[in-house]
Symmetry: C2
């Protein structure tokens, strides 16, 4: 069993990340293929099966080397059947991903939501450092989340647990969110949300180096924040909302770690320090002392490593 390989697959809207991973979580081989979303994503499972076979052939390995496939998909998942309820970017609706991929590959497949498997990856090999109670917040174009309690992903009754991006942080007069509500965390803490806050601040005052840019990005805001008062104020505003949301999550779960990942997290301490400050202000004292905040360390590898963890723990132990 020790020399078996785990296959991690992280399915995104533009690329599919694949990796062969050892039973100890070491990435042995990792590669990407483009996501073919034509014809409502009907080619995706066959593309994955072919990519795995081709890589095995290149490496001179047999399929028996592989224990199974653990895969993250961009949408809510029915865990018992491996059906994707909906993945808007791929054109899938009630799509039997697990069954189709098992037929194409001849391997056992386990499927979960992409934010959840990223959380498992960070738990196993990343900033989570083995913490059995862990929450991941992913700040990208949107805001996603994965929640692990007692070492297991929390899915909830309809697979919608971990919708951290849709925690309401502006109950009155918040900006509209893609989900149909207003004032969601996503509207103020995603890359697009931060850019919007900056545009709103610039509409009130041009006294900022950001006013010279044609299009302000979240990255620009964090880079300017040290020297620029307006940029600093935008970071403070974003951090107060994110710190509030993380404090409230932590008052409910008291996780060992809250790991902040996604593109926005590349700001590092410029993000973490103000968020930590607001977290301490809003968290219950015992929670503020015991729950630690950290920046994710695995980057784009979190998904494939989390997928491998699922194979190891859910398939490898039968």
């Amino acid at each position: 069993m020790e020399d078996k390989w785990l296959v991690g697959v992280d399915l995104g809207g533009t690329t599919i990340k694949l990796a062969f991973i050892s039973m100890y979580g070491e990435i042995l081989h990792k590669w990407e293929i483009p996501t073919n979303i034509s014809e409502s994503g009907k080619h995706i499972t066959l593309d994955i099966a072919k990519a795995i076979d081709k890589k095995l052939h290149e490496l001179g390995e047999m399929k028996q080397r592989l224990l199974g496939i653990g895969m993250g998909a961009p949408g809510p998942v029915d865990l018992t059947t491996g059906v994707i309820y909906e993945a808007i970017n791929l054109g899938w609706k009630n799509y039997p991903l697990k069954d189709l991929l098992e037929v194409e590959t001849g391997l056992p497949v386990i499927v979960d939501n992409d934010a959840n498997i990223a959380a498992l990856g960070e738990m196993w090999k990343g900033a989570g450092e083995g913490a059995k109670d862990l929450v991941c917040v992913t700040l990208g174009t949107g805001v996603g989340g994965g929640v692990i309690a007692n070492g297991e992903i929390v899915h909830g009754v309809s697979g919608a647990a971990g919708e951290i991006g849709h925690i309401t942080v502006v109950p009155h007069g918040g900006a509209p969110c893609n989900c149909g509500k207003t004032g969601c965390l996503e509207t103020v803490a995603s890359a697009t949300g931060i850019a919007r806050l900056a545009r709103e601040a610039l509409a009130k005052s041009e006294e900022s180096q950001l006013s010279q840019l044609e299009m302000v990005t979240s990255k620009d805001v964090f880079e300017a924040a040290e020297a620029d008062a307006l940029a600093k104020q935008v970071v403070e505003e974003m951090a107060s909302y994110l710190g509030l949301a993380i404090a409230n999550i932590s008052n409910i779960m008291n996780p060992e770690k809250v790991v902040i990942g996604g593109g926005v997290s590349k700001a590092g301490d410029a993000l973490l320090n103000p968020v930590q400050r607001y977290f301490e202000q809003y968290a219950f004292s015992r929670v503020a002392k015991s729950t630690k905040l950290a920046i994710a360390t695995l980057g784009n590898d979190a998904g494939v490593i989390g997928g491998a963890w699922l194979v190891k723990t859910k398939i490898g132990q039968h």
Copy 2:
């Protein structure tokens, strides 16, 4: 095994509730003794041991009839050791409750926080109806909570999970809370919080039947709300905060049920209906459709039934 009895104990600041419960969760015998908090609560474990022996004697039963004791205590608990970190009302600090009670009774003992065992009780025999993902919110003098995910209580890294009363719902200018923060849910949704909101409203306007009362209680507010505009507005305010908090909890956990208990929950639909309305406004659409809100049904029995569940599942299966 089927004819063994489970002992549930719910330790409060004024009374200790005890019950002998069947393996199927039926309460066979239930009684109370006063809580002796003199000398830093040092007599409590012996009092419990004597009460159990006395009841067995009355019933003509032997101690072998009892499988073990499951007990809730009013404070955070170290699960592995059964030590109560702190129970302010009892004068306990780092108190080895499990060990002492096992010595006094000769029975295996399992200890957890009182809000957590109440949640287990509601899961097993109450409004939870067996839901494996369940959150209980207890609205009493304070606001407590118990969180169950994948059928297990979520304790968190330092036993402070479920501190639902200290979710910040008024980030700016909120009232001071006993915990040292401001704007906690407890300051606006506990019995004392509701009374405070009513006093504040009455200080601005006396046009209310509540202004004739010497001291307004939470019960008065709910009873007056149908006919009295000021009382109705206080209920709306409270419900908006509670609905927001429950929506945000549900966006994180997507539980099958959120069960609202405690003295304030006796208001029934007068509480549940406005809270449901704000919950739907603030919850992610998929969560609003799948997570159900309900009033607790076990009342004061939730604790002893939850304690019995712990014995059945944690001791009965060894």
